[in-house]
Structures are given as structure tokens and as C-alpha cells.
């Protein structure tokens, strides 16, 4: 309950901040629309040449893109801003202020800052879903939507855990202010169905940086083609990722020494 209150007040502060920067609002909206358009350009080019790529039709690939857009909103609206503030804390040695607060440090840094404008992405994702299903000539089954909801949770947990791991790296390296850039770059590959990748790349994107769990599986769930065993494995994988992230985070905190002190 106390943590819910905390979350509420952190959200409110972010909302207030967001209101100040109206230019950001316009730019955010504009960037988002353009990002989506550019993300779809390669898709167009690919499917202009072929009806299916690695077993995916254009409409189906759009569903993956929709999940990508949704998760990108989560990443940039709720995850990256806090990441930036942690890296800044570590650089300036002000993380001490966070650590002495009587609340879980991981919770505090994870909820430090939100960009409410990024909620635009959720709307954009819905538009893409609608477009994809129109091309496929059907609507998603109710059961599939329920399964997709579960995979959404899995996807967000995995994304979040990866982020905590990335932030932990900032404790060990002298100065990494482009961590979020790095994170985004890797994440960008998630806009493609996992089956377009072969061999080592596919292995990495399934088990090491599990992009498959984030966009391909939810898309399959929504399309009704996700095997039950895969779903269970994904849930287990998310739980594992979360645990590992938590352990690594705690170890990093233990090792942390403030800069210049």
C-alpha cells in the first residue's frame, strides 16, 4: 500500500513535469508518428518483393510491429527515463540520497521518472493491430486476447529485467551515458518476427536477449498460434529473468562506491 502511494506521488510529479514541456509533447507525438512510419518502410519493401517472409504474412508481421510499438511506449515512457536518472546519479555520486531513503532502492529508481506523453504509443499500437487484422480479414478471438494479456505481462517483466541488468552495468563502467541508446539499439531488432533470424542471432534473441518473448510471442498469442508449452516456458523465463535481475542489482548496490568520495 505504501508503495502504491509512493508510485502515485512519483507519477504525479512526472505528470507535472511533462506539462511544463509542451514543445516535448508536440515533438514526442511527431517523432512517434514518424518512427512508426519508418518502422513500416522496410516492412513494405520486404513484402513488396514477397508475399511471405519466413512464414509471416504482411498482416501478421504488422501485429508484431504493433507489439513493438506498444513496448516501445513502455520502454521510453516508463523505463528509459528512470534509467537515465540512475546513470546520472551514479556519475554524480548522488545515488547515496536514494540509498538512504527508507524504501526499496530498486523500486525508487525504477519509478523515478515517467514520460506520460508516451502513452501515445498505446493508441498507435491499437491502430496497427486494427490495420493488421483488417488485412487478415478477421478479428482476434476472445480467448486469444486473454492469452495475449498474459504475454504482455511477460513481455513487460522481461523488458524491465533487462533494463535493471543494463543499469547494473553502469556501476562497473566509468561513464556510460549512452546506455539508453545501446538498449534501444538492441531492442530495435524486436520489430521483426523472430523467425526471420537464423542460427546464432536467433539463439541470442530467444534466450540471451529474449526479444522473442517481447514481441513475437504476444503476436502469436493474439493470432492464436502460440503453443501452450511456449507460453508456459515464457512465463518461467520471465520469472527467471526477474530473479536474476534482482540478484545482480543487489550485488551491484553492494559494490557501489560513490564517485569522488
Amino acid at each position: 500500500m505504501r508503495y502504491l502511494n509512493l508510485l502515485g506521488s512519483q507519477l504525479r510529479a512526472s505528470l507535472l513535469l511533462a506539462m511544463q514541456y509542451r514543445a516535448d509533447f508536440l515533438l514526442d507525438g511527431l517523432v512517434e508518428v514518424l518512427w512508426m512510419a519508418t518502422a513500416i518502410v522496410p516492412l513494405f519493401v520486404v513484402f513488396q518483393a514477397r508475399p511471405t517472409v519466413a512464414g509471416w504474412r504482411f498482416g501478421e508481421a504488422l501485429i508484431v510491429m504493433g507489439w513493438f510499438t506498444f513496448l516501445q511506449g513502455v520502454l521510453e515512457g516508463a523505463i528509459n527515463p528512470s534509467l537515465a536518472s540512475v546513470v546520472e546519479h551514479i556519475r554524480k555520486g548522488t545515488l547515496d540520497f536514494v540509498l538512504i531513503k527508507p524504501a526499496d532502492a530498486q523500486f525508487l529508481v525504477s519509478t523515478a521518472r515517467f514520460l506520460p506523453w508516451r502513452a501515445i504509443n498505446v493508441g498507435t499500437a491499437m491502430v496497427i493491430f486494427a490495420w493488421g487484422f483488417r488485412l487478415l480479414g478477421r478479428a482476434p478471438a476472445r480467448r486469444d486476447v486473454a492469452v495475449a494479456a498474459v504475454t504482455t505481462v511477460v513481455a513487460v517483466v522481461v523488458l524491465y529485467s533487462l533494463w535493471i541488468l543494463t543499469v547494473s552495468a553502469a556501476f562497473y563502467v566509468v561513464r556510460i551515458d549512452n546506455l539508453s541508446f545501446f538498449f534501444n539499439a538492441i531492442f530495435d531488432a524486436a520489430r521483426w518476427p523472430i523467425s526471420v533470424f537464423r542460427g546464432a542471432v536467433r539463439f541470442v534473441f530467444t534466450f540471451v536477449v529474449p526479444l522473442a518473448l517481447m514481441t513475437t510471442y504476444p503476436a502469436q498469442a493474439l493470432l492464436g498460434t502460440l503453443p501452450a508449452t511456449t507460453l508456459l516456458a515464457a512465463i518461467a523465463g520471465a520469472a527467471l529473468a526477474f530473479t536474476v535481475a534482482r540478484v545482480v542489482w543487489n550485488a551491484s548496490i553492494a559494490r557501489y562506491t560513490s564517485a569522488g568520495g
Binding site: 511544463q20 514541456y21 514543445a23 516535448d24 515533438l27 514526442d28 511527431l30 517523432v31 514518424l34 518512427w35 519508418t38 518502410v41 522496410p42 513494405f44 519493401v45 520486404v46 513488396q48 518483393a49 514477397r50 517472409v53 519466413a54 563502467v173 566509468v174 561513464r175 556510460i176 551515458d177 549512452n178 546506455l179 541508446f181 545501446f182 534501444n184 539499439a185 538492441i186 530495435d188 531488432a189 521483426w192 526471420v196 533470424f197 537464423r198 542471432v201
Partner: protein, 267 residues
């Protein structure tokens, strides 16, 4: 700010910048990892081209194209916009302004000074890439290689100037990084970074031809992979350097206007 003074200070600026780059070698590695996008695109387009080539591009052509893209991006990237954004926000720009060296030239020096480290970090990858593509994947024309070097310099300058112009946005907007995002959006699609501009649909090709992005990545890559003949290459180079001049002009303009604002409000 006299040029003579700056010219004399330039070697030291480069040397110290290099020392900084060495101190940030971990960051450099992160940068290399962060720019592995061409390798992902390589995997993607290889899959697409497995059955039949897309336009002129079969699997080997895609491999050559994206490995070259990777190398070109390493050698033309610049963090200037990032540094400048930080400096404007933190007020550190004030200290730079109080030095008798033009801050834009100092940024340029820092960017250039990071180059040797970038070469060192990306050299092994370049070697592997050459091994994978084989000598057949790149051009054999020495003239084209000379032009390639010129185009690489042009691409670096263009990227630097655009980066600085975007960095100047920090004078006007609370977060100029957004503007950078906006620019990156266009950059990714229209520079040839995600796919060879050649295979874009006709309408988009026209857009690409009117924009500077292709000259940041596409042109050097096309020269390297032998996609352009000598005559065509010279024409493209001329346009690239025209864009370099234009971007230099707009950067100078943005800088002057931004600085006026900075001097009115302070850092």
C-alpha cells in the same frame, strides 16, 4: 576568436581529446555494440533474399552492403550533439565560451580525436567483414577507393555539422535530444542504414534524392561496394560536398542565434 590561435591549439586539442577517448574506451565499446543494427538488418535481408534477390541485391550483396554500412557508421559517427546538449543544460558551455578558441571547433576536435580509438575498436570487425565478404564484395578500382576516402570525410563532416546544428536546439528547447530523435528517424530510413536506398519504392527514392541523409552513410557504402561507376560517383560527391557547405552554413546560423539567447538568459 582568431583562427591562427585555434590552429596552433588544434594539435593539443586533438591529443587531449584522444586521451579522453582512451579513458572512455568502455563507452566506445558500448557505442560499437549499440550500432550493430546493420548486422541485424543483414540477418533480416539475407533471409528475405534467400529464395530470390531483391532488385540487384542477392544474399552476398546484402552481406557486403551491411558490413560496409557498419564500418562506415563507426568511422563517421559523432557525439558532438550529445556533448553540446549536456554543456548547454549544465551551463558548462559558459566555460567553453570563455576560452579563446571557438567552441564549435573544439567540438570538432573532440570528435576527430575519438577517431583513432574508433578505428582500433572497429578494425577487427572490419577484418572479419572482409574475410566474410571476400575481395569480390568490394570494389577493385583504386580511383573509387580514393573517392571513398573523400566521401568518408564528407560524411563525417556532414554528420558532425548536423549533430552540432541539432545540439544548438538545446538553446531553444528544454530537451534537444528529442530533436535528435527526430533527425535519427529520417537518418535511419533515408541514409541507407536500414536498407539500400536503391530498393526503396520509387516515390521514396525521390524523397531520398532531395535529402542529405544518403550522403552520410549510403554514398561511402555504395562506393566501397562498387555500386557506383566513376562518373556517377563524382556527381554524387559534388552533391555531398554541397550538402556539407549547406550544413556548415545552417550550423553557423543556429549557433549564432542560439548563442544570442544564451547570452540573454545565461546558463
Amino acid at each position: 576568436m582568431s583562427l591562427r590561435n585555434t590552429a596552433r591549439a588544434f594539435p593539443t586539442l586533438l591529443r587531449v581529446g584522444f586521451a579522453e577517448a582512451v579513458a572512455y574506451r568502455a563507452e566506445m565499446l558500448v557505442w560499437v555494440l549499440a550500432t550493430t543494427m546493420p548486422l541485424v538488418m543483414l540477418a533480416l535481408w539475407s533471409t528475405v533474399a534467400r529464395d530470390a534477390p531483391v532488385g540487384r541485391y542477392g544474399q552476398p550483396q546484402f552481406v557486403a552492403y551491411f558490413l560496409s554500412t557498419f564500418i562506415v557508421r563507426q568511422l563517421t559517427g559523432s557525439w558532438a550533439f550529445w556533448e553540446m546538449n549536456q554543456d548547454v543544460k549544465s551551463g558548462a558551455l559558459g566555460m567553453r565560451l570563455l576560452r579563446p578558441v571557438h567552441p564549435l571547433l573544439a567540438y570538432a576536435a573532440e570528435s576527430l580525436a575519438a577517431m583513432p580509438m574508433r578505428v582500433v575498436v572497429s578494425l577487427p570487425l572490419a577484418a572479419v567483414a572482409l574475410g566474410v565478404i571476400g575481395a569480390g564484395g568490394v570494389t577493385h578500382d583504386p580511383v573509387l577507393w580514393v573517392l571513398w576516402a573523400v566521401s568518408l570525410a564528407g560524411a563525417w563532416l556532414l554528420t558532425l555539422f548536423i549533430g552540432l546544428a541539432v545540439g544548438c536546439a538545446a538553446f531553444f528547447f528544454e530537451s534537444s535530444l528529442k530533436v535528435m530523435d527526430l533527425w535519427l528517424v529520417f537518418f535511419f530510413v533515408f541514409s541507407g542504414y536500414l536498407l539500400p536506398v536503391e530498393i526503396l519504392p520509387g516515390g521514396l527514392r525521390a524523397v531520398v534524392d532531395a535529402l542529405p541523409f544518403r550522403f552520410q552513410i549510403g554514398l561511402p557504402v555504395e562506393l566501397m561496394t562498387g555500386a557506383l561507376g566513376r562518373g556517377e560517383a563524382l556527381g554524387m560527391l559534388a552533391r555531398q560536398w554541397a550538402w556539407v557547405a549547406v550544413s556548415l552554413g545552417s550550423t553557423a546560423l543556429m549557433w549564432r542565434r542560439g548563442l544570442r539567447r544564451f547570452e540573454a538568459y545565461g546558463g
